[in-house]
Symmetry: C2
Subunit: 107 residues, 2 copies
């Protein structure tokens, strides 16, 4: 796996496919906005705007791709997201379209 293009690719994805990438991260493990931000910034050494992150999470919830559970940790509230069945279908369909693995019967 090449290291040369990795950072620019990650920024490409975060910029253009934030919704998909969030779905993927949440599918791996239910989590919340702030943790995703810190995690991605640590893993890839890039910045995620929380001004884009939180509205996108809310959008995913509106679309029914993730469900939201309010978790109280002391007085601080976390909105823990989990991928719904619809979200999983969406994500899998995305991968299929991207890699051209859709059967011809789909049309």
């Amino acid at each position: 796996m090449s290291e040369t293009y990795k950072k620019q690719i990650v920024q490409h994805i975060i910029r253009n496919l934030l919704d998909i990438q969030l779905l993927r991260i949440i599918q791996a493990e239910p989590t919340w906005g702030y943790k995703i931000k810190k995690q991605v910034e640590a893993d890839f050494n890039i910045k995620i705007r929380h001004g884009a992150l939180y509205p996108t999470l809310n959008l995913l919830e509106e679309k029914g791709f993730v469900s939201c559970t309010l978790q109280q940790k002391g007085g601080r509230a976390r909105k823990v997201y989990a991928v719904t069945a619809d979200g999983q279908v969406y994500l899998q369909t995305f991968y299929g379209v991207l890699q051209g693995q859709l059967g011809s019967n789909d049309l």
Copy 2:
């Protein structure tokens, strides 16, 4: 594979990941701009702007991800593109990042 989200996902990809999708199509078979446009429009029933398509193809060539061969068919010239070794590495790295399959040694 779900049909529900397919069209919006394809538009999502064409809009935000045109370069990647072009790489994938060209990797499957060396081809040229106009054919890609017609093919995608027929396959997915969506419009591709050639005003975005051709500059993107030229950009991919500049970056060295595709090579270009001028093919004369009668008097009409075609710019037939093929994916280079660099382009294949880029594409594979992209899939890896997107699906989170990068080893931890990559950092």
